[in-house]
Amino acid sequence: MSTPSQTSPCLLTNKGGGRYSSLPGLVTLALIDVKGNTTFDCANSSVLDISGGQAVAIPVNCSAKSFGFTVVKGKTYEVRVVFIQQPSPFDAVANLVETPCNQKLLQIDDTTPSVVLRVTA
């Protein structure tokens, strides 16, 4: 007997202005192209734990189309993401979504070559 498919719950809740609350767990962002090709710039993107006085970089699992990091309850993170837009930054459009729940977070175009998000768990 097969199990009926269930929609995965989203961890992130958009508060506006790049501020998000999050449930603990692995947050995975993905890029879905609308026009052209947009990818994560893994070398220049990072996640910082800014809960304490000193910001600390945390591990990130990054590929061209996926960007994941683990959120721990009680922590606040600054997510710095750079996008590479091709073949021209003025032609490419993509949606930044949270997976696997497929929640659209932002449209990535020539006014958003990078974003800085604050995620609080």
């Binding site: 958009n14 508060k15 506006g16 202005g17 790049g18 501020r19 090709n37 990818t39 710039d41 893994c42 070398a43 220049n44 993107s45 990072s46 910082l48 800014i50 000193q54 910001a55 600390v56 970089a57 591990p59 990130v60 990054c62 061209a64 600054e78 710095r80 993401v81 750079v82 590479i84 837009q85 091709q86 073949p87 021209s88 930054p89 003025f90 032609d91 932002l106 449209q107 175009d109 020539d110 006014t111 958003t112 070559p113 990078s114 974003v115 800085v116 998000l117 604050r118």
Partner: protein
């Protein structure tokens, strides 16, 4: 069979990083942006453009429609935030009265002085790009059997000797590059913006479409650099005065012996492999890191727990904007009206960031508030990053086979009648093999009635080259690029090749026997010229390339006997000097 050792001097061609912790290292200190913070502020402390960037208008329409459909102000809050729409928020802050007041008074600098400053810096950048230091390095030019569809992006300077089809060769220096080369480098440095995203009025702008078209056009100018090229003749005038004699001197020297233009008519679709390669090149420029670091500084100010006004202003203003759109029936006119309200909100935004509306130099002193210096720095970083993407992206597009180019050459050799060559160039690539095919017609620019059998059509040409690229592992280099190519060239000489001679002043390198003293032109036989060449280019794909070649021809334009030529040289691709790669 004669042998010849010429010098072919070059062929101009073609995880997670640990982010710096906030406050631990500035962008300028990180090295990604060479200009210091104060330098950026001083140079770019100009006014914003009169109208918001078109990209912001387009983005606002998108966010407004999203807010309407979701019945939520969140998309509009995103539009107002430095974290999620940095350039539009930057424009708004820099359009504030507070910024205008400081702009005219900061350090006594007027906007005119700032504009002169940026012009000086841009001119310095151009000078750094275009000025050659030391001796020229070379390119193939006429020592190549085929023409390629592309030239160096910015600039290449080449010196060559040893023409393959002609019997007389002079030392020639060739300067070539793409028309878009220098604008792209200025864009890459942040001194030139794309018009739809321009924030600061002192930054000149080109549209993406113009840059796209300019990148298709390249130029080439060749100069004869052999001291003996051309002839200088003196004729005695008047009577001699003792051992002195007045003369009238004439010269047949041509300072420019060829210029040409090339236009890429058709180019291929950028492959996934090329996309990945270009993405790596963009990432390596470091401009993305400079951008996100500058953005993070503003986000820190925006979310400063000691000043909750900024976040409160974003939320309240977004709610107000959505309410007005809804009260206008969610119509396009209502959205446009609300957009105009947004563009006038800079002063309120600056107040929320702690800048009082009556701020002036007296109240700020010589220091610049962090929000202002941060916004100016962010505007510059944004322009520079988009410029780097445009630069690398257009380079990838233009170099994507199949490429069909058309070339016009105007040959103005001092020793031959001038002629024009119309050439079509096709290049296709099946990795690792590249095929190049040329077809060309050459016509004399003027009738050659003095030469029997000479018409306006000088010759017809066909050439093809197959090149195989591979890598070698050597003790000196883990991956040394090597290209092995074979080329065939055919020329049907329908009109005789003509050499202009001056009696008593023979052409350099040619000795005539039995030539009548009154002869002003000599000419060869018509017929078929066939040339084959094998070439090994060591270091291909890198900045330094060493081409080695052996060429055989059944005849040249004037000499009817077979000829062997061996050539070796060194080339340097200047483009690497101007790329953003560190």
């Amino acid at each position: 069979m004669s042998s010849f050792l010429g010098c072919l001097v070059g062929a101009a061609s073609t995880a997670n990083a640990q982010a710096p912790l906030p406050g631990s290292q500035s962008v300028s200190e990180a090295g990604a942006t060479k200009t210091s913070n104060s330098g950026v502020v001083n140079t770019y402390f100009g006014s914003v453009t009169k109208s918001p960037p078109k990209a912001c208008h387009a983005r606002f329409l998108t966010e407004a429609k999203d807010a309407i459909s979701r019945k939520s102000p969140i998309p509009l809050i995103d539009f107002l935030s430095f974290g999620t729409d940095a350039p539009c928020a930057t424009y708004l802050l820099l359009s504030s009265n507070q910024f205008q007041a400081m702009r005219t008074s900061l350090q006594g600098k007027t906007i005119q002085a700032v504009e002169q400053d940026i012009e000086r810096r841009a001119a310095k950048e151009v000078k750094a790009i275009a000025q050659q230091s030391g001796s020229s390095s070379g390119t193939g030019g006429s020592t190549n059997l085929t023409s390629k569809g592309l030239t160096a992006k910015v600039l290449s300077i080449a010196s060559e000797y040893g023409a393959l089809t002609q019997s007389v060769s002079n030392q020639t220096t060739t300067v070539q590059g793409s028309v878009a080369g220098i604008p792209l480098v200025l864009m890459d440095k942040g001194y030139l913006a794309e018009c739809s995203t321009r924030i600061l009025s002192v930054t000149p702008c080109f549209s993406h479409g113009v840059m796209d078209q300019l990148s298709r056009i390249s130029y080439s100018v060749s100069f004869a650099t052999t001291p003996s090229v051309g002839t200088v003749t003196g004729t005695a005038t008047g009577a001699a005065s003792g051992t002195a004699q007045q003369v009238t001197v004439k010269t047949s020297d041509h300072s420019v012996n060829q210029f040409s233009f090339k236009w890429v008519a058709i180019r291929g679709i950028v492959s996934d492999t090329a996309m990945a390669k270009t993405a790596a090149a963009i990432s390596k420029t470091g401009t993305g890191k400079a951008l996100v670091d500058a953005q993070a500084k503003l986000v820190a100010l925006e979310n400063d727990s000691n000043n909750p006004k900024a976040v409160a202003w974003e939320t309240n203003f977004a709610q107000q904007l959505l309410a007005e759109i809804q009260s206008g029936g969610n119509s396009s006119a209502a959205i446009e009206s609300v957009f105009n309200k947004w563009r006038e909100a800079g002063t309120a935004m600056a107040s929320a960031f702690g800048l009082p509306e009556n701020i002036d130099q007296a109240s700020t002193g010589p220091s610049v508030p962090d929000s202002v210096s941060g916004a100016v720095e962010l505007a510059h970083a944004y322009t520079q990053y988009l410029g780097a993407e445009e630069d690398q992206g257009l380079s990838a597009i233009i170099a994507q086979p199949p490429i069909l180019s058309f070339e016009y050459d105007d040959n103005r050799s001092s020793s031959q009648p001038s002629d024009s060559v119309f050439r079509a160039i096709y290049q296709q690539k099946w990795t690792p093999l590249t095929l190049t095919v040329n077809g060309a017609l050459s016509i004399y620019n003027s009738g050659q009635s003095a030469v029997p059998g000479a018409g306006r059509l000088r010759d017809a040409q066909f050439a093809t080259e197959a090149a195989h690229s591979f890598a070698l592992n050597t003790p000196l280099s883990s991956s040394l690029g090597v290209t092995l190519s074979g080329a065939f060239y055919y020329q049907y000489q329908s009109s005789p090749a003509i050499l202009n001679v001056t009696p008593g002043a023979p052409v350099d390198g040619v000795t005539f026997t039995g030539l009548p003293s009154t002869a002003a032109q000599v000419y060869g036989k018509t017929g078929n010229i066939a040339i084959g060449q094998l070439k090994l280019s060591v270091g291909s794909g890198s900045s330094v390339t060493v081409p080695l070649s052996v060429t055989y021809s059944n005849r040249t334009e004037l000499i009817t006997s077979p000829t062997w030529k061996a050539q070796v040289g060194v080339s340097y691709d200047f483009d690497s000097l101007f790329s953003g790669n560190k």
